[in-house]
Amino acid sequence: MARSKNKGSQEVNAGSMADIAFLLLIFFLVTTQIATNKGLTLLLPPKQEEDEPIEIKQQQRNIFKIQVNSADRLLVEDEPLDDIGQIRDMVYDFVLNFGKPSDVQKGKAKVSDREVYESLPPAMKSYITRNLGSSESSDGPSGAIVSVKADRGSSYEIFITILDELNAAYNRIYGERVGLTDEEFRKLNRNDPRQKELYDRARAGIPKAISIAEPSTVGG
């Protein structure tokens, strides 16, 4: 009798511990979702005052127009476009055109177009002098506006694709300006002072001016 007692295990049976932990694990797996706080940000224009109609005449060449009809067909700068992927390069060229850079200091950072141009790395400068600088396109980054006008019947999916392309163009400009790729620029952590400085330097003088125009109610 005593002998059999001695032979029996002295440990606490921990085999069921795994089951309990599994149960908890499954509970958390089912009840939780991984927080996805990622997306495409957009800053809306301030509220319009009803009694004072805002009529700011923008030069046509300073606006990059993208129109979408209800069949999700694109009209970019008044010409039909089938490949959405081209918008990225078109916007890149449009913003960095420097057709008639002004010396007026604008924005929070008080940087003029000419100063922006001077701050660019040599590779970008030579690209601009070689290929851009057309009088048909934007005067300078501070005045360049990208306008998206989507029909009420166009799909949200195509809108996101366009917004994605526009952000890609801007991120590429910002990134190249400080010597990063667009992905590295996107991942800059603004809580870190050193990275924040880089971020501010990249964005100074080149506002991300994406305007979502009021849509037409006609089917189109």
């Binding site: 927080a35 990622k38 997306g39 166009s154 949200y156 996101i160 667009d182 603004r190």
Partner: protein, 153 residues
């Protein structure tokens, strides 16, 4: 002979003492990386993917708005707007935003960020209407939530 006997006497079990530790480690990982689902989704959510995503830093300032066709077929197939646990109409957005703003401290109220989770079947009409209302409510920072695109093209 005695050698053989000894072998048969030894325990045949695989030691499972480390198993709970492994499971607990998994458990802690999931507990830390996840948040409890706050609202029950009443609309379809098949969100289009995008590439150029930015991470929001201040989670406290983010409020969610869900748009999509309702899961309940009885409510039709037209996209509806869900805020917190209920459907709201376009006209109710301003009031809802002000309600959400009052939950924040005074200095942070203008920095409220509306994260829109929109189903890809939605048409732009309702999105633009929401945007107009958000402008009216002075909640100008918005974000179109989107998961990362898988392929790189």
């Amino acid at each position: 002979m005695s050698k053989f006997k000894k072998k048969s006497e030894s325990s045949q079990d695989i030691p499972t003492a480390a198993l709970p530790d492994i499971i607990f480690m998994l458990l802690f990982f999931f507990m830390v990386t996840t948040v409890l689902r706050e609202t029950e989704l009443k609309v379809e959510q098949d969100i289009p993917r995008a590439e150029q995503l930015v991470k929001l830093e201040k989670k406290k300032l983010v409020t969610y708005l869900y748009v999509g066709p309702p899961k309940d077929q009885a409510l039709g197939t037209e996209p509806l707007i869900q805020a917190n646990d209920a459907f709201i109409s376009i006209d109710g957005i301003v009031q809802w935003v002000n309600q959400e703003k009052s939950k924040l401290s005074e200095v942070e109220r203008d920095q409220i960020t509306i994260s829109m989770k929109v189903d890809d079947d939605t048409k732009m009409g309702i999105i633009v209407d929401i945007q107009t209302e958000l402008r009216e409510a002075n909640a100008r920072k918005i974000m179109y939530a989107a998961p990362t695109k898988q392929n790189n093209n």
